[in-house]
């Protein structure tokens, strides 16, 4: 088993209350399904869309956002999967994909050589 990080990028935040509830329910079902199959190492956390960017030798501090709205990382989950292919397959169930968002699947670098 290897570890992967799912970074959730973008995703529309609009919608009527009923739609929002529906999408949230889909997320909860998806994560629950992954958990039941032993794929979740760490549920991870949602991230605020604001913050600071500290940059360069000058240590310039600027306000977020850090990217275009469609690229902002909104949260992450630590996943366990056989290989990258399986991790990618697992990510395809993510409801963010139906809402103009993306999942970035990144292997965690292994410590052993």
């Amino acid at each position: 088993m290897s570890e992967f990080v799912f970074l959730y990028r973008g995703g529309s935040r609009d919608g009527s209350p009923a739609e929002m509830q529906q999408v949230m329910q889909k997320w909860m079902n998806w994560l629950k399904g992954l958990g039941e199959k032993g794929h979740i190492k760490d549920q991870g956390q949602p991230l605020e869309r604001t913050g600071k960017l500290v940059k360069g030798k000058q240590k310039t501090v600027t306000d977020g956002p850090f990217a275009e709205a469609k690229d902002i990382v909104g949260g992450y989950t630590l996943i366990q999967a056989r290989d990258l292919d399986q991790a990618v397959e697992l990510s395809k169930g993510c409801p963010i994909l139906e809402r103009d968002g993306a999942v970035e699947v990144r292997p965690v670098m292994k410590m052993s050589m």
Binding site: R13, A18, W27, G44, P46
Partner: protein, 429 residues
């Protein structure tokens, strides 16, 4: 923890109402932004950590904190009520002040305040209902458009115009002032009645949408009944009417989604709990000197709901109730229903005579069930050709696939004259 089906929708109504009381009706858009933000946070946090113990309280607390942020950000850019303006001038008073305005006792009547605000006398009835659905029931523009079978842009225009009217009153309606309350109460009752009817008789082909509209009307009427000025005989009668009709809601379409008339419905499936509650409410409505249209319509619904079989229906009593209704609130649709009841009571020839004698029947020229009722009585008098013509006119006016397939079946029956199918009527009630 499982979420209740309409949690977000209902909490949206509550939060927008409370925030609008704080910000003033001219800042409704800000209130809506804050609520959207609260939902985004719930969305992000709950999907990972699960639903909190008390989701409603979680949302309201989040809305409060977002409101404090918004006030801090907007205090110089916008104008607020003098009382709130004073509170937000200093950090000493801002958070504690808002905290107080969100206390359980303070937010108790907010839905009712918003309900009365939506029934502004400068708004037409359709606009009032659209506004209630949008603000109080948390329906998005597309969902309101779906309920009324109108285009997105038509409903968007109607709602934004209505919101401008709402903004002009600056403050939410004051439900503690008896005289104003009583003078606006009939408009509120009427809007709730129409909202229910949109669900019960409306054009939307989706029965789920229609059940939602009926439930929303019942939920808002229950809120009205909780207020000391709102709990009048007419409100009881309105609630009774809704319960008695809603008891039959699930049988209005059969298992394959086809419209089923009162004559074909499986009465064993009528909801006996709703009928009992409707009867209790009807008893409570029977006080005081006022006999309203809601009393009469509830009584008519009660006669139907308590008839074990269609043959047991006391049509004479129903005709008498319609006679009185015609003196209180005459309309071509009421006249049509009265004529149908007469036809049931005294035979199809009399029914036809009454339908053709309706004053202003030109106002029914686009109502499919006017022609359907004519067709029904024609076919019962054995005049199948004429009946078929009427059903075809009705078909041309039908508003959704359910109505169309219902009418096509009637046409087929007429075509197969040989088949001596027993006459059946479309009942509007």
């Amino acid at each position: 923890m499982e979420l209740s089906e309409h949690l977000f929708r209902h909490e949206a109504g509550h939060m927008v109402a409370t925030l609008t009381r704080l910000f003033g009706t001219h800042n409704l858009a800000l209130a809506e932004d804050v609520v959207q933000d609260a939902f985004c946070r719930a969305f992000e946090v709950w999907k990972v950590r699960g639903v909190p113990e008390n989701p409603s309280a979680w949302l309201m607390a989040t809305a409060k904190n977002r409101a404090i942020d918004a006030l801090r950000r907007e205090r110089t850019a916008r104008t607020f009520e003098p009382e709130l303006s004073r509170l937000i001038q200093s950090e000493w008073t801002l958070a504690p002040g808002v905290e107080e305005l969100f206390a359980a006792n303070a937010i108790k009547d907010d839905l009712l305040r918003m309900m009365f605000s939506c029934c502004h006398p400068r708004l037409g009835e359709e606009a009032q209902i659209a506004l209630m659905l949008n603000i109080l029931c948390g329906f998005g523009v597309d969902e309101v458009a779906g309920a009324f079978v109108r285009t997105h842009s038509a409903i968007e225009k109607r709602i934004s115009r209505a919101k401008r009217v709402l903004a002009s009153s600056k403050k939410l309606f004051d439900v503690s002032a008896g005289a104003e309350f009583c003078s606006r109460l009939p408009a509120v009752q009427r809007a709730l009645y129409l909202l229910f009817n949109e669900g019960y008789h409306g054009a939307s082909p989706e029965s789920a949408v229609r059940v939602d509209l009926c439930r929303e009307a019942m939920r808002l009427t229950a809120i009205l009944l909780e207020h000391p000025f709102g709990v009048t005989p007419a409100t009881y009668a309105l609630a009774a009417l809704m319960h008695l009709d809603a008891a039959r809601l699930s049988t209005r379409t059969d298992s394959s989604g086809n419209l089923s008339s009162l004559f074909d419905q499986d009465r064993s499936l009528w909801d006996s709990k709703l009928i009992a509650e409707g009867q209790r409410l009807l008893d409570l409505s029977a006080t005081g000197p006022d006999l309203t249209e809601y009393h009469l319509e509830a009584a008519i619904a009660w006669v139907h709901a308590t008839a074990g079989r269609i043959e047991d229906t006391n049509w004479g009593q129903i005709v008498a109730l319609y006679d009185t209704l015609m003196t209180i609130r005459p309309s071509p649709v009421v006249a049509l229903n009265r004529a149908i009841a007469i036809g049931q009571h005294e035979g199809p020839e009399r029914g036809l005579q009454e339908i053709l004698g309706i004053a202003n029947h030109s106002r029914l020229a686009k109502y499919p069930f006017y022609f359907a009722a004519l067709g029904e009585f024609e076919s019962r008098s054995g005049k199948y050709e004429q009946a078929q013509e009427q059903f075809e006119r009705a078909l041309g006016l039908a508003r959704n696939p359910m109505e169309r397939s219902f009418l096509r079946k009637r046409i087929q029956t007429c075509e197969g004259v040989a088949a001596s199918a027993p006459g059946r009527a479309i009942a509007s009630k």
